[in-house]
């Protein structure tokens, strides 16, 4: 990379060729005021606040101007300051920027700039357009009266989330942020990721569940990892006096680029379920509280008596908790499984049988944006792995051909080039695709032949032929396998397809912690004497529920009340995801840190210690 030397306010600065003046200045500690520029987004040079003087004659926005040799930049001339202040005043006085009545008072980039530029009296009267407020969405409010039209939200929605829900409507003073065709946000194509409110510099888009709970400067900030899916987005969790205020994505995070989804950003704020702080033993239908020590003894006693013991842990726990729980359970002779581990075991088996090498598996989900074709098998990824879904949408927007196969609704219908829906069991379709490729190779032009292979399946032969044709092209193809597929035949067919066509694979899993790949697990007794379930913060999993229902005696360890605890004979408190500290492994097989955000509220303070004690009790 070649460097270029130029001067800023008389000082010589060197920068990389192609860099903007703003970025070069920031690296040298020269701050240029800005409103619309955001590192995660394209520069649109809209706000006209970062204007600088160029070579003593021109005025240009620093975020758009590229460095050139011997450029003379001045950031604070009288003229520049005058124009900048005028533009700030125009912005500030044209909408409802009454700071003391705003949710973002104290967290506002416009307010900061007004202070920095000492604009405390005004030339122009306040305009008061009185625009309607859109509060139709469960979590997000859009108030155009506090909007400065910087368009960060519009860009974030398109460029980062690949969703294009937000846009501009109207011209001149009527110009506003609108969802879709001026629909209420709550009824729009919004995926509720909240990226818009994260990038909004003012109080125009804000989080309903966080509003008026405190400004960020007065909160405690913990940087952690979200455990809601295996993408493992880096989070910035704001708390105040031990209470959750807001969760944001960390812009520096490689996997997410600052994104979070509804599960990671809003769900924890919405969760009002009752927490479990004590050990509870159920006797003749009544609940009795018990000390933690007594609880330990009780567990040891029950487990000692059991012949067939099934232990199952959630896939959303940390490595350390999984390890210590597994150790304890094995000490008592239990069979041990983790939600999601079954799929891994199946995959392992299939790989061995068809002799598939690890090279087919991608460990960077962002790679999907480089693919020529994406074959998405099971579109539930939109809900289970929303950040990965954003990359799929972005890929499709940039010309990647997207082929979707689903038994139900195609949740990428707006972006898929070919959408195949199957009503029959999924296995048949994977077999079919394989068969077409094998038997039809060289003669896939022959429609009747394809039709005969398709047999009675209600799938258009043309569609399948298209799929085959696309995959046969010598291109960079990625097959993404949704987490809902857990039958061996499907896995086998898809893996075979990847092998046959030299495609790459991303295999998604229900568990957020991919540490389960290296953890030893096995199928458990389906109707055991004793079931010990260690739940996570996710909604109850079917496997766990069945186990608890079918066991003679069930122990459920959880942080909050749920259907699982309803049915349990013995309830043990566990830590919630914000109380736990440890590590997790994400889909890219990267180890990430999970930080303790809040002090444990219940009697249990460390799960690891608890399980170590349990082993000792044997």
């Amino acid at each position: 990379m070649s460097t270029v030397k130029f001067t800023v306010n008389g000082e010589q600065v060197s920068a990389e060729k192609g860099e903007t003046v703003m970025s070069a200045c920031e690296k040298h500690g020269i701050e240029i005021p800005k409103l619309c520029q955001h590192d995660a987004l394209d520069n649109v040079m809209a706000c006209r606040v970062c204007i600088v003087e160029v070579n003593g004659e021109q005025i240009q926005p620093a975020c758009g101007l590229k460095v050139e040799k011997d450029l003379e930049i001045k950031t604070e001339t009288d003229e520049i300051k005058k124009y900048r202040r005028m533009n700030l005043e125009l912005i500030y006085r044209s909408e409802n920027h009454y700071c003391m009545f705003c949710e973002s008072d104290g967290d506002c980039e416009l307010q900061d700039l007004m202070w920095e530029n000492e604009i405390d009296h005004f030339e122009h009267p306040r305009l008061f357009p009185d625009r309607p407020i859109d509060s139709s969405h469960e979590s997000i409010v859009i108030d155009n009266n506090r909007c400065i039209r910087c368009g960060r939200c519009v860009r974030a929605c398109e460029e980062v989330v690949g969703n294009q829900t937000l846009g501009f409507g109207g011209r001149g003073l009527e110009n506003e942020i609108v969802a879709d065709a001026n629909d209420p946000l709550g009824e729009s194509t919004c995926v509720s990721c909240g990226m818009c409110l994260q990038v909004c510099p003012t109080g125009a888009i804000f989080n309903k569940h966080s509003m008026f709970k405190g400004i960020k400067d007065e909160c405690d900030l913990t940087e952690s990892t979200c455990l809601r899916c295996s993408v493992g987005c880096a989070t910035e969790v704001y708390t105040r006096t031990g209470h959750l205020v807001e969760i944001e994505g960390a812009g520096t995070d490689e996997e997410s680029g600052g994104q979070l989804c509804e599960m990671g950003r809003f769900d924890p704020l919405l969760d009002k379920s009752e927490t479990i702080d004590e050990v509870i033993y159920k006797e003749n239908g009544t609940e009795k509280e018990m000390s933690l020590a007594k609880g330990l003894e009780k567990i040891a006693e029950v487990l000692d008596e059991g012949e067939e013991i099934s232990a199952m842990a959630s896939g959303d726990l940390t490595n350390e908790v999984l390890d210590s729980f597994s150790d304890a359970m094995r000490a008592y002779g239990a069979l041990f499984d983790v939600v999601g581990a079954k799929r891994h075991r199946f995959e392992k088996e299939v790989k061995r049988r068809i002799n598939m090498i690890e090279g087919h598996f991608i460990d960077d989900i962002k790679e999907v944006m480089e693919a020529d074709h994406i074959l998405l098998y099971d579109t539930s990824v939109r809900d289970t792995h929303p950040v990965l879904a954003s990359y799929i949408r972005r890929a499709a927007m940039n010309g990647t051909r997207l082929i979707t196969i689903d038994a139900y609704e195609d949740r990428f219908w707006e972006h898929s080039d070919i959408s195949i829906s199957v009503e029959s069991p999924k296995t048949q379709l994977t077999r079919l695709v394989n068969q077409v490729i094998r038997e039809g190779k060289g003669s896939i032009e022959d429609l009747s032949r394809v039709s005969s292979i398709l047999g009675g399946l209600r799938v258009h032969p043309e569609d399948v032929m298209q799929v085959v044709k696309h995959l046969e092209e010598p291109t960079y193809d990625i097959i993404i396998l949704g987490s809902e597929i857990i039958d061996r035949w499907s896995l086998r067919h898809i893996f075979e397809l990847a092998k046959l066509e030299g495609s790459y694979l991303i295999s998604l899993n229900q568990a957020s912690n991919q540490y389960i790949r290296s953890l030893e697990t096995e199928g458990v007794y389906e109707e055991p004497d004793i079931a010990y379930v260690l739940a996570g913060d996710e909604d109850e999993q079917e496997d766990m529920k069945n186990l608890v229902e079918n066991a003679d005696f069930s122990i459920v360890q959880a942080s909050k009340r749920s259907q699982l605890t309803e049915k349990a004979d013995l309830i043990i408190p566990s830590l919630s995801m914000f109380e736990r500290e440890g590590t997790t492994v994400n889909i890219n097989r990267k180890e990430k840190e999970v930080k303790q955000v809040m002090e444990p509220k219940g009697t249990l303070k460390s799960e690891k210690k608890f399980f170590e004690e349990l082993v000792k009790k044997r």
């Binding site: 006209r48 005025i59 533009n87």
Partner: protein, 599 residues
Amino acid sequence: MARKEILICSGTGCLSAGAEEIEDKLMDELWKHELEDKYPVARAIKRTGCMGPCNLGPMIIIRPDDTFYGNLEPSDVETIVEEHLLHDRIVRSLLIEDDGHKVEEFQKLDFIKGQKKVVMRNSGDIDPSSLDDYLENEGYMAARKAVTLMDRDEIIEEIKDSGLRGRGGAGFPTGLKWEFTAREDEDEKYVVCNGDEGDPGAFMDRSVLEGDPHSIIEGMMIAGYAVGADQGYIYVRAEYPLAIRNLQKGIRDAESEGYLGENLFNTDFDFNVELRVGAGAFVCGEETALLSSIEGKQGRPKYRPPYPAQSGLWDQPTVINNVETFANIPIIIEKGSEWFDDIGTEGSSGTKVFAVAGDVENTGLVEAEMGTTIEEMIKIAGGVAGGKDFKAVQIGGPAGGTIPEEHIDLPIDYDSLEEAGTIMGSGGFIVLDEDTCMVDVAKFFLDFTQEESCGKCPPCRLGTKRMLGILEKITEGEGEPEDLEKLEELAETVQNTSFCGLGQASPNPVLSTLRFFRDEYEAHVYEKECPTGTCKALIAAFSIDESLCVTCGKCEQVCPVDAISSGEESYTIDSDTCISCGECAKVCPVDAISEGGNE
């Protein structure tokens, strides 16, 4: 008796003036007199594009003598057919008068005499929906010459030598623009015609597109060949239905006759043209916004560089020129750069089409040689209407400025206009007489730009709104001394910090009126007076001098707000209801009514 041909102007202006009715009547009359053999239906009457003198519509020309009849009523048609067609006698009573004498020939109209038709060479002369007609007038000869006999560099050199500058307003040398795109090493390149004419009152581009669509296609084709592009797009606003229809027909005809498509003129050159219809956002006339709009995105300007010449439509090198620019191309190729360069001035060669409007006798399209003075232009348009004094001319539309009487001898070319604080723009030319309030003029244009701002940047979206607010305050008699200063400060900020040309130019009407007519602003602010009596809020209610009133009641009849009622001795005006329009004073036979007056 030579065979006669009837040309009827079917431009949008004449159509709304009733050209179709005249045509129907003509057909009826021809039938009645059993003239259908002499005038076989298909060729009896030729519908042409805009002939130019729009306020004379509906109008016809009868050839071969070029006899011109304007301001026709259906009842006139019978006479014309009987007299002129049957007996070869010119109907003198229907001729147009210039300075008191009847003009027989179209070319001898004062309005036409002073003009130089280059761009409008075919408009008003040929049937724009007929490819044959275009071909008969040397159509596609220039493209054939360019593609078969010239190489790319030669064409670009020819355009450069001609001195042709962009007619969209900024006046960038066209040849240079083409050269930039030609130099780019990309397989996909595009040629785009900017037909998003948006200035209020401007209709030059519309008339060319309506009246001579093939010349645009041909111009684009030559550009495509020169820069290495095989696809062109014409962007027209939906408000131009006739232009769209004629272009659609033109493109289809050219395709089926092999003037568009593959292997044109038996070479390996391919060229296709597609029409894109815009929804009429003013900002889409800005080239980067227009390209976004063609791509199907919102019409918002983008940062330059990179310029479209390097990275335009779908990020490919793109030549984007105005309609009028493309219309000049075939004739330059045909007649050579020297011929073109000889027209006009040294820095501005060729002609410019203006939409002349406002307080002149004859409004319409005037194509004049570059360097024609403002005074000459007004003369072409028959002088200031009603014998009033000339005050100023507003050139360049909402992005332009106002030039006062003392510069009436200013030659109209890119550089002189810029020096005088305005721009060529797309060719708006609004003549203002002594009764025009310059603050009101500035307000009119600003009202337009602030509404048409795309909203992307604060100076344009909000600054223009603020400026308008101040102008409204001033015209309503509430101006404060510091308002003029505020206005200038705002204008400066908007001019210097707006994102695109639209914003940067939007204060021009204010700045130029402030420069030349500051005293008028000051009169509004300090004296609370509108010197021309335009700003109603600044005029006191009218009243009637009882001693003079003859109770004729004329004033009562014309009052639009029923403020006047009859009394025993005299009529009276209710000052609360009166809106000071002054209509009553105009009709009073004894001058008993005056502003303020007898209180």
